[in-house]
């Protein structure tokens, strides 16, 4: 058991970063797109660095709508997994070693996902943050916002429903 407040800071960070690293790197498609995660406490921000292979309209150029949809979906799934892993990582129920070997619980499954394209995706880095509106034993509802240069001018937002993995 970890004693909150008595554990060395470095150890706390190492454990949390290992958990996030294992989660984010355990998804080949997220790696293929080049998605990274920035962590502040338990809050995650997803980052999608721009590359030419993500272009959907070569004349503007603009990000492919499908890339933005995928980015928001990956952000939702990782954020949802992270929210239920957090407790177990903090309590020590999920050992660091399991995380490092990639022995993670199953990810939630997308039931449906609806994306609003608010502005054309510029050839720049994108960011996204998901908020879990409801997280039940079987179903979860997630809202996610994506932006580029200005957080107050989102380029896309989405809501999705997810089937939670069985935790026996």
């Amino acid at each position: 058991m970890h004693q909150n407040g008595h554990e060395p800071l470095q150890q706390v960070k190492q454990r949390r970063d290992a958990a996030l690293h294992a989660l984010a790197n355990g998804v080949p498609y997220a790696q293929y797109l080049g998605i990274k995660f920035d962590r502040r406490g338990d809050e995650l921000t997803a980052i999608l660095p721009f590359t030419d292979k993500l272009i959907g309209n070569p004349r503007l150029p603009a990000l492919h709508g499908g890339v933005t949809a995928a980015f928001l979906e990956v952000t939702s799934i990782i954020s949802l997994s992270w929210s239920f892993l957090w407790e177990e990582v903090e309590s020590g129920a999920l050992p660091l070693q399991d995380l490092q070997t990639g022995d993670l619980p199953r990810p939630p499954k997308t039931i449906d996902f609806t994306v609003d394209f608010l502005r054309s995706g510029l050839p720049r880095d994108s960011y996204a943050r998901a908020s879990i509106t409801r997280s039940g034993r079987r179903y979860a509802s997630v809202h996610v916002v994506g932006w580029q240069d200005n957080h107050s001018r989102p380029h896309a937002q989405a809501t999705g429903h997810f089937l939670m993995p069985r935790r026996d």
């Binding site: 498609y29 293929y32 272009i55 070569p58 709508g65 949809a69 979906e73 609806t114 394209f117």
Partner: protein
């Protein structure tokens, strides 16, 4: 004429860097309909324990196919952009199988195109996913 349209659509999709990345190929084009395939690729997997393709890759295929269906509609004046796209995931696509999306632009107003689509793996009886979307018309 129909052959021209097919060629234009194929070249158009080929010119989209991300569609090329996912190896998307136009297999059929009609008046406001499109069929596009995406072969299985282990880089696009969502869960390495199962080898199932990530929903995000299916979204990219659906979005491209819906956009193509809008552009092939006889009354569409040209370019289009996605306003909104909803995807329902019915089941996991079988690992190793090509995914085929079919989209139909069933309504077109002066400003908005309405599209529905289905995606299949080798089992053509049960869709992997369905989509409905609204797209811009004109600029």
């Amino acid at each position: 004429m129909a052959q021209d349209k097919f060629k234009i659509a194929r070249d158009f999709i080929q010119a989209i860097p991300h569609a090329r990345e996912l190896a998307m190929a136009v297999t059929d084009i009609g008046d406001g309909t499109a069929e596009i395939t995406m072969p299985y690729d282990s880089r696009f997997v969502g869960d390495p324990k199962t080898g199932v393709i990530h929903g995000g890759a299916v979204s990219a295929l659906m979005d491209t196919c819906c956009g193509a269906a809008v552009m092939t509609h006889p009354d569409c004046p040209g370019a289009t952009a996605t306003l909104d796209l909803r995807i329902d995931y019915m089941r996991a696509a079988t690992p190793g199988q090509t995914i085929t999306a079919r989209a139909e632009c069933h309504q077109l107003t002066r400003s908005v195109a309405f599209v529905r689509a289905q995606a299949f793996d080798a089992d053509l009886e049960r869709p992997v996913a369905t989509a409905t979307g609204a797209f811009t018309v004109g600029s």
